[in-house]
């Protein structure tokens, strides 16, 4: 096996050095009744060439191919990824290094993550961002747990039903054993969250909204921030599509205390939902309650600028059971990738790309409305929107699939009240021709 460098002679010589007669003798400390019986029942080894063939067979069973237009978002977004992002993020010095515990050997990772933290804080309009969490969903759970630490004597959190359904499930998983109560907030006909059930609720730590939300609608975060702060709680602004902040006001500007969400849109492939990137930022005053790793600037013995992991007294390996989170490895390379993407795009590029998403998305939305569809919600959207059709959309969708277009997902599985409503997503990857095809298929 090419990954195992030992020759039989070397094995024999090394065994002699350690005073063992065979490889088996190295394991005499393992009692007989703990032993593995027989050979491991996994398939026999494949050569590199056989593995390539197998992968060709497996990838051939995927019915959606890269040249398809997938007009589906709902938490994962198909954006252009420039070759330099793949190329730089694939450099083995980044890929094959460990968490930067020895800063003198990891200044590349450390400066790269410091830059990621900075660009993330600027994107989200907040003071501090961490080095990443697992994904948008667990980041939201961590944000609510952080809210419960920050707001003294609190025991409840609220979360909008317009937050991605899978995110709400993850929040429930994380909070179940803690005994804290989760209040679900409804949404109105504009697709925006209705905060009125919070009136009179005490012990509230934080309220989680998502903007753009699951239906693509922009929440009125500024108004929500005022109301939520008046009740003594924190506003947690979640997101699944950070590209929106190239166009719309960012969460910090709107008054959010914590912004957290999924960073996949920033240079990471959809890849069946992972590897993902949990982005997390907050106001300066809460930094010591933050979960996850942080990189900080310092100097070396000669006074030169350098970077280290810092504020680790919040973390599991120091504070053990009193840590702000149990997180250890996070999504380092995904954060680095997002930073490379943001650097490639630049401020102007992000704005232009976001605008392109919006214009194309509005073009499809208005085209379909003109063709007879009805918007489910009236509020402003970014690159996703929900529509209801006069007839059954399923056969239309099947026909479009035959033309290489995957148009939307049905909402009934997630919101039974909205059975027959479809959620579409249009990014800069879509072309006018593709969108015209969808519109004319609906028009019939």
């Amino acid at each position: 096996m090419r990954y195992l460098p030992h020759t039989p002679e070397e094995i024999a010589e090394m065994l002699a050095v350690v005073g063992k007669g065979s490889l088996d003798e190295l394991f005499t400390s393992i009692p007989a009744d703990c032993r593995f019986a027989g050979s491991i029942p996994v398939p026999e080894a494949l050569t590199e060439w056989q593995l390539n063939d197998l992968m060709r067979e497996i990838s051939g069973s995927m019915t959606i191919e890269p040249q398809h237009s997938v007009l589906v978002g709902a938490g994962r977004y198909q954006h252009h990824i420039p070759e330099i992002v793949r190329s730089l993020a694939g450099r083995s010095e980044f890929l094959t290094s460990y968490t930067p515990y020895q800063p003198e050997m990891a200044q590349g990772t450390l400066q790269g993550i410091f830059e990621y933290q900075t660009l993330t804080a600027r994107l989200l309009g907040l003071d501090v961002a961490n080095a990443s969490l697992y994904d948008g969903a667990s980041a939201l759970a961590e944000a609510l747990l952080m809210g419960l630490r920050v707001v003294k004597k609190s025991r409840r959190v609220a979360i909008s039903r317009a937050v991605h359904p899978h995110y709400r499930e993850v929040v429930a998983s994380y909070l179940r054993p803690t005994g804290y109560e989760i209040i679900e907030l409804p949404f109105g006909p504009d697709g925006r969250t209705d905060l009125s059930p919070l009136a009179g609720v005490d012990g509230l730590a934080a309220v989680a909204l998502q903007s753009p939300n699951f239906f693509g609608a922009m929440e009125d975060l500024e108004q929500a921030a005022t109301a939520i702060h008046a009740s003594g709680a924190l506003l947690v602004a979640g997101f699944t599509e950070p590209m929106a902040f190239g166009l719309y006001k960012n969460p910090g500007r709107c008054g959010a205390d914590i912004a957290c969400g999924e960073g996949q849109s920033l240079g990471l492939p959809v890849s069946f939902g992972g590897a993902a990137l949990g982005m997390f930022a907050c106001r300066e005053e809460f930094v010591r309650n933050m979960p996850g790793r942080l990189v900080g600037e310092t100097v070396d013995l000669e006074g030169r600028r350098g970077y280290v992991l810092t504020l680790s007294t919040r973390e599991q390996h120091i504070r053990r059971e009193k840590a702000t989170s149990n997180i250890c490895s996070n999504q380092g390379l995904c954060a680095m990738t997002a930073a490379i993407f943001m650097a490639s795009l630049g401020g102007g590029g992000l704005r232009q790309t976001a605008r392109c998403n919006y214009d194309l998305s509005e073009y499809l939305k208005n085209g379909l409305i003109a063709a007879g569809a009805v918007p489910v919600f009236s509020g402003p959207t970014f690159n996703e929107f929900a529509l209801r059709f006069a007839g059954d959309f399923t056969p239309v969708r099947e026909r479009l699939k035959g033309k290489g277009i995957v148009a939307g997902i049905e909402l009934g599985k997630y919101y039974p009240d909205y059975t027959g409503c479809w959620l579409f997503c249009v990014t800069e990857k879509a072309t006018k021709t593709i969108l015209d095809t969808v519109i004319s298929e609906v028009r019939g």
Binding site: L23, M62, Y98
Partner: protein, 485 residues
Amino acid sequence: MNGTVGASGLILNEPLLWEKGRKGRRGMSMVESGVPPAPIDAGLCDEGPDFPDLSEIDVIRHYTRLSQWNFGIDSGMYPLGSCTMKYNPKINERMAATPEIACAHPMLDDASSQGVLRIMFELQQFLAVITGMDAVSLQPSAGAQGELAGMLIFAAWFRSRGEKRTKILIPDTAHGTNPASAALCGFTPVPLKSGDDGRLAVETVAALMDGETAGIMLTNPNTLGIFESNIRAIAEAVHARGGLVYGDGANMNAIMGIADPRKCGVDVLHLNLHKTFSTPHGGGGPGAGPVCVVQALEQFLPAPRVIRDDSGYRLADGGPSSIGRLHAFHGNFSVLVRAWSYIRSMGPEDLKKASQLAVLNANYVKERLKGTLHLPYDQPSLHECVFSDQFQHDHGIRTLDMAKRLIDYGYHPPTVYFPLVVPGAIMIEPTETECRDDLDQFVEAFKAVVQEAADTPDLLLQAPVRAKLRRLDETRAARHPCLCG
């Protein structure tokens, strides 16, 4: 230092991203929408973030220079104990980047996703048979989230039985994440002291295991690299009081095809695919921490999981007992593809061989450094060995100083000051992918450092001198946090 791999490279300086660039530059192609601009409510809009504008070559040089300040497994030996820094095969990267796989959208139906579901299904099976467990969820994104899943399963199990247990036993040789994961699930950690031989005694466990204790979190082999040979009796003592046994499988690399966690009495086990199964660490993730359980606990696993029926592979939602989702989709899927690729490339014989050689390498290094460095637990050990700096105290030299000097010799230092049971610990895990010549070179380098500790200790106190930067002021970083530029 003649003949060592350590040297000063051609290291170029590079400013922060926003200290370079010019407004109006672009590092990527811009798309024209081709449709008319749509009206938008200006009140909701902003001018966009203050990012630097850079050209493609600006970005390329920036990150190329940064990468050259980093040390990876591809650069050299990385004997970081407990982290299993083995070679990360290149073909695995290609597998994960397969275009049809990389573009698979997780919100589409199962019929569209057969290939990716097959990979997940097969990996679930492989991990089950390697650990001897009955069922596997691939959802946890890292070891610590796998532990969290395990603790949530513990909590759900006792809830389903109408029991309230509030404590959990954690030995002093456990991983640092264990207590934090348990605490998140409402269990108060009860520390257990390991014996003089580095092993946990049955009596220690039996004395503390009571009806309010949920069970035990055990790393086996433990963080001293020692197999907990009493594990079956320990598991029986825990089971006898209605408790469960959690196995931290971070050290699975030592025992593939050799020991069977199921037979050891483990009920729940997490694996670190970024350790045992060769997926890259990426400078701190993404990893993957699948959680494996015995049949009685299968109903509690995170959902969805992949099953196979007449119609092919499909995602099955969890029943009412499931602890629910831990990830928006299926964990770090691209990492799962790499681990699948590794197992398919290795096959049964070479997986076992990997463990055997990992243990051979660690024993070889232990034997060759014994005497040079203090070995606090001179016991049969497996994939890693733990020394201390006790012999160097007379020279005023500590573990950290030796670690930093190793950098000058071209090695990533071992894990230091862990496990906590060994003061000044130096924890070495060479892994199976280092050849004898490289181990010899590492041993010679370490011996040279130890010699310098006696002869010229100042060299160590000043180290590193060949890295891009000298020692960094971590106290200043923590006292006056500058987290954002």
